[in-house]
Symmetry: C2
Subunit: 241 residues, 2 copies
Amino acid sequence: MLTKNQIKLITSLVQKKQRSKHQLFTVEGKKAVDEFLRSSYKLHHLYAVHADFNIESAYFTLISDAELKKISALTTPQEVLAVFEIPKAKHVSTERLILALDAVRDPGNLGTIIRLCDWFGVEHIVCSETTVDCYNPKVVQATMGSLTRVHLSYLNLEDFLRNAKVKKFGAFMDGNTIYETTLPETGILIMGNEGSGISTDIEALIEHRLSIPSYSLHQSTESLNVATATAILLSEFKRRG
Amino acid sequence: MLTKNQIKLITSLVQKKQRSKHQLFTVEGKKAVDEFLRSSYKLHHLYAVHADFNIESAYFTLISDAELKKISALTTPQEVLAVFEIPKAKHVSTERLILALDAVRDPGNLGTIIRLCDWFGVEHIVCSETTVDCYNPKVVQATMGSLTRVHLSYLNLEDFLRNAKVKKFGAFMDGNTIYETTLPETGILIMGNEGSGISTDIEALIEHRLSIPSYSLHQSTESLNVATATAILLSEFKRRG
């Protein structure tokens, strides 16, 4: 049985402001919830339509399908919704390759990028404060559990890059071809906004401009989507790093 | 001024069955519509809230914002909606690299894959009949105009592959690492469904099993999304082909 206050709290967590205030976020669906339960994330409370979870009763509420529908952010709710605590920010080590995001706005793109970092063993993503929040329900859904294995820090990206004593690589339309650039094992790879790319202030801090050459048969081809460009660049860094 | 019959026809085109029946599909937004107008696609009719299009009056209707809202498939309609004719299927040449899709279902993934093919100069995608229709409004929107430069054929993929006298490569979780496989300039690269991968019948026709190695620090990492995997594989084919 759900109380009005529980419903109010859970549904408020679709808003970034409320997630920040309560330091809580939601995860939906059995597979994703199971991954978060197995991880270092701390469970706040779990709501499910059946009791197939090995959870202390203080942290568990059995709910009806109708109740799940009330608290779910999904069009088709998936048997379980769990509320987890947002972890404390971790120290960013520059001893490994880091991905930096400058104002990536689309939740689906961020989710895909987190999955890619998981795949390619990039442990840490640093994000400008203008980048979409990784605890946005759409991002959590798109990461397929990879968020439990990749850390994200939201910070002043300009300050961070200015102080980081490693090589900085940025993805541009007019950079040196990635296939012929020497890539190190460590460093920071910076990807920009979906529409406008890397901002001018950040661009000034980048020493190495990279670009994925186009083999297009036509002049008018658009740029690559930020998530697919990240896929190709991370593949190149890892293959040769 | 829009007639009831026009509204009925246009809104019916969100359904694949109706698109097939009328051999028509919709494109929305000035940038995308301009790209289709410049391409070999044949305009059926253009509806816009202003007259900034150089179109014969027989093919143009000036409409109000309220009317645009009635016919648009977008949450935020974008000044223009054009109806184009679905072109006749083109002959598939196996003299260049071809991408084949086995039951890719997500419109966003197909849109991203079409953009990737445009970027990497892959002119032709062959799709199983179970693959999402490329004239689905969500696919058209996601391609950002690349659909005017990449041809798609929907066909019996098993028959097509059986008859194609070129090397067939498939993306699998357990294939040979892409980074160490010799890749030709021609051939067919086959990508599978989001959830289940390449189907058993298609798998039997594939000689070369490719895989993108994971550098993950964890055991439980998911597979890559089909669009990001396609990005990495096409990059490798083009870089070395």
